[in-house]
């Protein structure tokens, strides 16, 4: 199993080598902070961010493509890491978020899975929104900082000391946010396939995902220590010459943006106050930095911005996912056909009578779908094609048909019941499982419905947090009872 994680660790290492430069690059290049200090704080807080708050952004990535075999996850992470590495060699500031998205799409194409367009749109739109937001934050922040310095007449040396602390603070906050947001890129694809047991240490329980995130965080830290210095020293001279105060403003803006896109607590708070929420998606720290730098550069008249470099960076944002998708496709082909490894679990589809009834209940006219009744289809893409031939459905209804038709082979066996860890499930939920023991299901929704009938705790409600928890529990149970 750990052999398969190696590509994730490689991706973590390259993320550490590259993205740490966004957080501490300007501070180190301008000699405001020593490399050793920067690397130490960066590593520590990346790991903390990954383990404590890493779960938020990984959900969206999971929805984009449910990589369902560990060998497939290995290739997805490998393709992303390879494209990051190649782009770095070509001296393009690269985004691991884009690389991993490209690689997942490559896997989706290879395995015949559908790419969830709403998740993809959500992620791609943040690639545009993220630099704009960073620019939008850096501009007023810079104006306020400049105003404050003038208003209080801070002595150059005091300002120097404040700026150093500010750079360190922004770097720490940035590292934490980077860990929280980007760990999904590094380890996200392994979460559904790794099935690690929870570990309790000093009274704190680490879930399987957290263990993976810790591993990924350590890989990032190694990347920071071994390879980021060179990148850090060149990053400051990229788009615009930054003074240390500007650098601090830029790093704060970057860190705020990353935090906005990864904090579950903030999302809950915004929701409770009736405010619009930020989607929890892995965003690119490079894009955030570039946006923030351009924001400050524009305030200075924009004449000194090297637009050619900006254009180069932006073109890298388009090519990175494409390269990653191609590498992913090619490597999957080799691993599957040359090395005989299962890079995906075959998921077939069939609209049987129960499935038809469920679809009809939800308001979709099933009459036109009758030619598909009891026809077994090899993958999601072929089912989608067949359905679209017969009738036009909106995205939500199509998703429902696909989900309902998806075949699985689940059996609530006594042996599998014994293997369930008590920490992940409540007493009532366990009772519900025992009640349906011995039953088998061809569709996952059938098992979910059977459980919901037995216990309220298996029913979805208006509480988003409860639903997220329930979804993740159900996923674990499907894996547990799959024959």
């Amino acid at each position: 199993m750990f052999g398969f994680f190696s590509s994730g660790l490689f991706l973590g290492w390259s993320l550490g080598a590259n993205d740490a430069s966004n957080v501490f690059g300007t501070a180190v290049a301008s000699q405001m902070i020593r490399f050793r200090t920067a690397a130490l704080y960066c590593s520590l807080f990346v790991i903390l961010g990954a383990v404590i708050s890493g779960a938020g952004a990984s959900h969206t990535l999971g929805k984009l493509g449910d990589v369902n075999a560990v060998a497939g996850a290995f290739i997805v992470a490998f393709a992303a890491a390879m494209s990051v590495y190649l782009m770095t060699l070509a001296r393009f500031p690269v985004s691991t978020s884009q690389a991993i998205v490209g690689a997942i799409i490559g896997w989706n194409i290879f395995s015949g899975s559908l790419t969830d367009m709403s998740s993809l749109t959500k992620i791609v739109s943040t690639w545009i929104f993220c630099p704009l937001l960073a620019a939008g934050i850096s501009m007023p922040l810079y104006l306020m900082t400049g105003g404050g310095i003038r208003r209080f007449g801070i002595h150059m040396f005091k300002l120097d000391a404040i700026t150093r602390w500010s750079l360190l603070g922004a770097g720490i906050f940035g590292s934490y946010s980077l860990g929280a947001n980007n760990i999904a890129n590094v380890m996200g694809v392994f979460v559904p396939v790794a099935h690690l047991s929870d570990i309790s240490l000093l009274g704190i329980t680490f879930s399987g995902a957290q263990q993976l995130f810790l591993l990924g965080g350590i890989a990032i830290a190694v990347g920071v220590f071994t390879f980021s210095k060179r990148v850090m020293l060149t990053v400051g001279k990229g788009i615009f010459d930054l003074s240390p105060v500007m650098a601090a403003v830029v790093v704060w803006s970057h860190s705020i943006v990353l935090f906005l896109f990864s904090s579950v607590a903030l999302e809950t708070w915004l929701k409770n106050h009736g405010l619009p929420q930020f989607p929890l998606v892995p965003v690119s720290s490079s894009q955030a930095i570039v946006g923030a730098v351009i924001g400050v550069g524009l305030l200075k008249g924009g004449k000194t911005i090297r637009w050619k470099t900006v254009a180069g960076i932006t073109s890298g944002w388009v090519t990175t996912p494409i390269i990653a998708a191609l590498i992913s496709l090619l490597s999957l082909f080799f691993l599957q056909n040359v090395f005989q490894q299962d890079t995906f679990r075959k998921v077939e589809y069939m609209l049987d009578n129960e499935a038809m009834a469920r679809v009809e209940q939800s308001g979709v006219a099933t009459k036109s779908l009758e030619p598909l009744l009891l026809r077994q289809l090899p993958n999601a893409v072929s089912l989608k094609k067949e359905v679209e031939k017969l009738l036009q459905l909106d995205e939500r209804s199509l998703k429902l048909v696909m989900e309902t038709a998806e075949l699985d082979n689940l059996k609530i066996s006594v042996e599998a019941l014994r293997g369930i860890e008590s920490q992940i499930i409540s007493e009532n939920q366990l009772k519900a499982l025992i009640k349906i023991s011995g039953r088998g299901f061809n569709h996952r929704w059938q098992m979910a419905e059977a459980l919901a009938e037995q216990s309220l705790e298996f029913q979805f409600n208006d509480d988003k947090e409860h639903n997220t928890r329930l979804n993740s529990l159900l996923k674990r149970l499907y894996n547990q009872f799959r024959q």
Partner: protein, 214 residues
């Protein structure tokens, strides 16, 4: 917190160094006045004082220089600041040099020129005080630098005017020997050059301000 203490320490040293520059101007002014009035004792005392001030200024400048390099403070403006301090130190040196010139040459300055010489000294000291204010503002309140620089340029122009007037008057005094005329002219030029040098520092400071605000 160590870094704030460090900042406070170097701030004090720079303030102290600039105080030495101002003090050297005042000592020079009093010393020159004593020379013109023939008060040898006061002149000697002022000469001694200015040498001490110059030593203190040199020590402070070296200490600041070493501090900035070893503690890697203000990396982006370090070279500008050090150049600025060196330039300010050269003003201090020139005040000392002017008093020593009087001591070495033991020049007999015609009474007719005393008033203009005193005025020139006053204007030169004003120029240097204005540049000291500008430098202090550079560290504390960068937007105020321009106002002080305006004063530097104003006093430097005044100094030019007085110096030209004084040199013309010296050379029109035909009863004096040429060598005597030339020595008095040189002294007037020496004093005017202090104001010129302050103007050069003002020009550099102007650039440092632009660099810092980019």
């Amino acid at each position: 917190m160590k870094i704030f203490k460090r900042a406070l320490g170097v701030e004090k040293q720079i303030d102290n160094f600039l105080n030495q520059v101002v003090r050297s101007g005042l000592i020079f002014s009093q010393g020159a006045e004593a020379y013109l009035t023939g008060n040898k004792t006061d002149f000697k005392r002022k000469l001694k004082e200015i040498v001490e001030v110059e030593h203190t200024g040199d020590d402070l400048r070296r200490s600041i220089q070493q501090y900035l390099y070893t503690k890697t403070l203000i990396p982006e403006s370090r070279s500008d600041v050090l150049q600025l301090l060196e330039d300010m130190d050269s003003l201090l040196d020139r005040f000392k040099g002017a008093l020593w010139r009087m001591e070495i040459e033991n020049l007999d300055i015609e009474e007719d020129f005393h008033e203009d010489f005193l005025l020139l000294i006053k204007v030169v000291v004003e120029t240097v005080e204005a540049i000291v204010h500008a430098v202090r503002a550079f560290f504390k309140n960068i937007s105020a630098v321009a106002d002080h620089l305006d004063k530097v340029y104003y006093w430097e122009t005044e100094s030019d005017k007085i110096s030209t007037r004084l040199q013309s008057a010296i050379f029109r005094k035909e009863e004096l020997r040429l060598s005597h005329r030339m020595l008095q002219r040189e002294l007037a030029r020496h004093l005017d050059k202090i104001a010129d040098r302050a103007e050069d520092v003002a020009d550099s400071l102007n650039i440092y301000v632009i660099k810092r605000s980019v």
